[in-house]
């Protein structure tokens, strides 16, 4: 029985990739059959913390992501729990068919951790942005898609992902994220977190857009609008119950995500509500474009991933009721 805390020390304010690396090293103690697969980015993804501790369980494939994802399937077929650590776009786009054919179709126990996701590679430009990963990964049957909003959710999500039998894509981010939870967080795959109760509109977000959604909630309150706020750390399977309750009880929804507007959380929520309880759904997301070059935060602002846009979207959704 593993008795140690799964939480590394002092993670509040730490870079998300750093949290991932430290948490993975602890998971290595917890699971003897956990192996790490990297593609010349073991240092950069910070999985190096695991690799330093368990060199015999760490495999660098060089810049050969397609081989790496297929090899992960091979490890899983022989009883290992492979954790693939790579930039999000390389898992979801470069190795897309390997993920679908070798991992999801046979439903193998592979954990794929995408780092440097969304616009977190800012000046790296479009080649290094991961703004389609959620759309691609959630389209595969058998796949679970998780995107934590802070260091504590990341640690707990990684723990749950490793315990979950089957393919998981975990969108880890790169730099620091504001602290929202604590080490008492309860994380269950497919369950959202109710961060604020409200009756007029529901803001649903994951990852880097959860903190802006919380701030938007404050501004809306100053305008006498009570916004319910949900963190959907799991994007697939979606917490349908919480979202349908939100549709029933607040009558309007805003989604916010650091991802292209096509194929992300917004479309998932809109598809669900359209089927079960049609309500106005406004989406704050990247407007089907490539985002170019710039520092991470200004790039987010330029592409509309702002508190102000969430506030405006909430008002518009309410007006459409």
């Amino acid at each position: 029985m593993f008795k140690k805390s799964i939480f590394p020390k002092d993670i509040a304010g730490m870079e998300m990739r750093g949290v991932f690396g430290k948490a993975l090293a602890i998971q290595g103690e917890k699971h003897e059959n956990l192996v790490l697969l990297g593609a010349d980015a073991i240092e950069s993804t910070r999985a190096i913390d695991f690799a330093n501790k368990f060199p015999e369980r760490s495999f660098n494939f060089g810049i050969a992501e397609q081989e790496m994802l297929s090899a992960a399937a091979g490890f899983a077929l022989c009883g290992k729990i492979p954790v693939v650590a790579a930039y999000g776009f390389l898992i979801s786009l470069r190795s897309c068919e390997q993920v679908r054919t070798d991992i999801c179709y046979p439903n193998l126990n592979v954990k794929m951790v995408g780092t440097h996701t969304g616009l977190s590679m800012g000046p790296g430009g479009t080649t290094h942005h991961s703004t389609e990963d959620i759309a691609v990964m959630r389209s595969f049957a058998n796949m679970t898609v998780i995107a934590p909003a802070d260091p504590f959710e990341l640690v707990k999500a990684l723990d749950e992902a490793i315990l979950h039998p089957g393919p998981v894509y975990l969108r880890a981010g790169r730099g620091p994220m504001p602290t929202i939870f604590s080490d008492e967080i309860i994380f269950k795959i497919g369950q959202s977190h109710l961060l604020r109760e409200g009756k007029d509109v529901t803001l649903i977000a994951y990852g880097s857009m959860v903190a802006p959604a919380l701030e938007a909630g404050e501004i809306l309150l100053q305008n006498s609008i009570e916004a319910r706020i949900l963190n959907t750390g799991t994007i697939k399977p979606l917490d349908e119950k919480a979202i349908i309750s939100a549709a029933n009880e607040t009558g309007a929804i805003v989604t916010a995500e650091e991802h292209n507007i096509i194929g992300g959380l917004g479309e998932a929520v809109a598809a669900l509500t359209a089927r079960v309880k049609p309500v106005p759904v406004q989406m704050v997301a990247i407007n089907d474009t490539y985002c170019g070059i710039g520092p991470e935060e200004p790039l987010r602002q330029k592409h509309g991933l702002t508190i102000e846009n969430i506030v405006m979207a909430a008002k518009k959704a309410i007006a459409l009721k």
């Binding site: 369980r57 397609q66 090899a71 068919e97 439903n107």
Partner: protein, 275 residues
Amino acid sequence: MEKLDAQQLTKKANELRVVCLDMIKEAGSGHVGGSLSAMDILTALYFNILNVIPENPNYRHRDRFILSAGHKAAAYVAVLAARGFYDMNLLKTFNKMDSPFGMHPDMHKIPGCDMSTGSLGHGLPVGVGMALALRMDGIKSKVVVLMGDGEIHEGSVWEAAMGAAHYNLDNIVAIVDYNKCCMDGPIESILNIEPIVDKWKCFGWSIREINGHKMEEILTAFKNLPDQRGKPTVIIADTIKGKGIPSVEGKYSSHYAVCSEDMLNECKLQIDNEE
């Protein structure tokens, strides 16, 4: 099971050619050419070379086999049935609604199948992962991956070729079913893979070149492996597309084809003449 010798294997492979063609005839069409070019190798693997237990298909210490050229499934599923993994009668369902057997194998539906395949260039990288995991656990099993010749056009094959050599995986054996035909035409006209031996050699592999239809040569190729300690081995098997039906042998058009009654009879006649 007693291992079959070369003569018995030839006879078994010929029987299974007829079984396989009968399946394809019943289904309407199928991958005739590649199934027949790989039939001798597959028969030798399952009736002599591989350590597998049909009654316990997931036996941890078994040898692993990946049919990376998944479109040769008609031959593969016939061989597995004959080896006792499931009832031969099930083969009648090939390609039919809800059959366990389609054009490409599904590991969750076919007892004894170690990996679902069909899209080319996936088997060798999966095999690399298996070989690394088995070695970690001190399991002496070998991992055998059968690829088509056109399949090695895929870049992922060469990623894995580098990976296997880098990790000194002498527990992996790749087979290239070199029948010299792609779907669109002769391989040399589509994308030439020569000099194939030099390519594998410079990627750090040991090479064994054989006639893929001569059982003695197939069996010898698997003796005394690894060929060189610390090196993966590739067997380049010189084969004939459509082997066993004289009128289609060597023709790329047999890649995916209808199997007529005449073709089936031609195959049977050829076998009778040989015997």
